[in-house]
């Protein structure tokens, strides 16, 4: 089933991230309708006002748009925009923390590069 929300971070941010993930992974194609606030609230068992805050965040960023009386839709061209944003975050989120851990363990940059090559081959 669904992964529970992390109670140590604002949940509206996590809602926004999950919608972005669904767009990235193709579960929510561009121009498709996003589930309603109440559907989200029921599905994740969270307060509807919290969901609304997350959805509005994406509306403000132009990722979702509102069709009056119908609901929320994924805007065109946003999949690439989200991917671009995530690529920028990739370095801070993954590379920096990986380097820190590698340093603790005495893994050199060369060894790390070698590991990445091996990982890429096995994937």
């Amino acid at each position: 089933m669904t992964l529970p929300m992390d109670d140590s971070r604002p949940i509206f941010l996590q809602i926004a991230e999950r919608i972005e993930n669904d767009i990235l992974e193709g579960g929510l194609p561009e121009e498709s309708q996003v589930p309603s606030t109440n559907q989200f609230a029921a599905f994740y068992q969270i307060n509807p006002a919290t969901v609304m805050k997350g959805v509005n965040l994406l509306v403000d960023q132009g990722i979702l748009y509102k069709k009056r009386g119908i609901g929320m839709f994924v805007a065109t061209g946003v999949r690439e925009r989200i991917a671009e944003k995530r690529r920028e975050q990739f370095y801070d989120q993954y590379v920096v923390s990986m380097m820190k851990e590698a340093e603790k363990l005495g893994i050199t940059a060369e060894q790390l590069t070698e590991m990445i090559r091996r990982g890429a081959k096995e994937q």
């Binding site: 109670d7 140590s8 971070r9 509206f12 609230a41 307060n47 509807p48």
Partner: protein, 297 residues
Amino acid sequence: MSGIVEVKGLSKHYGKVKAVDNVSFKLEEGKIYGLLGRNGAGKTTIMHMLTAQLFKTAGELKVFGEEPYENDRVLSRICFIKESQKYPQTFRIADVLNVSPQFFPNWDAEFARELAKDFQLPLKRKIMKLSRGMLSAVGIIVGLASRAPLTIFDEPYLGLDAVARKLFYDRLLNDYAEYPRTIVLSTHLIDEVSQLLEHVILIDGGRLILDEDAEALRGRASNVVGAASKVEFFLAGKQVIHREPFGGMASATIMGALTARDREQAAELGLEIAPVSLQQMIVHLTGGNRSGKEAAK
């Protein structure tokens, strides 16, 4: 102003015991509130005053803009589900559902029947013969089907198993989405309900210690771990709500957002920083309150 409840300097004293001491807060229309705190913190006393079942010692108390005492305009709009609701000796579950419309103008009989089926309640069984869990389910049904503009649940799920509790959260959210109203969930089981709440009111030792948007609280507290002397150095000037030494190391929980400079400093000192869940924060704010404060001196 959409204030459903306004409380200023509310107190209830029993002789020298201050069960509730100078508490002020507001409840707005259409929000789900968590009235949280440990057992004996004063939550129930506050709810009894809001619902006119107990006189206040001091302070101002307005519900729907009026004093609640013997005020039918106010009381007809409140549904208060007590932890141990008393019913007439001879009552069956069906009787409780049948008399409820007299007390709650918005009562939805069909919804009540659906809920009774969901919770698998034997309608013909006498209330006296119900298990603790079934009794809780009856309260939940009355609370939800009343659709009262102010609905208060005091520890609503004693004796309910995980499946039934999930059912309660499900039905509550669904019905609230369709019929928004002000709901107060009073509980010491914070982890399960925290995501349902829009706003948190935290009571400890009769006093109000938090009155904030739930989302604003998430990520407000951080845990710092590292060499004890370095942790101590880092804590200077910060609000520490919990501390735990182990060996030469120390772990401490601080309230308040960390600045970029704080984070840099922590990194230089070799400290690990991790966010703290809402539940952990509340546990530290109430459980470790005294020791935390003393340790901070």
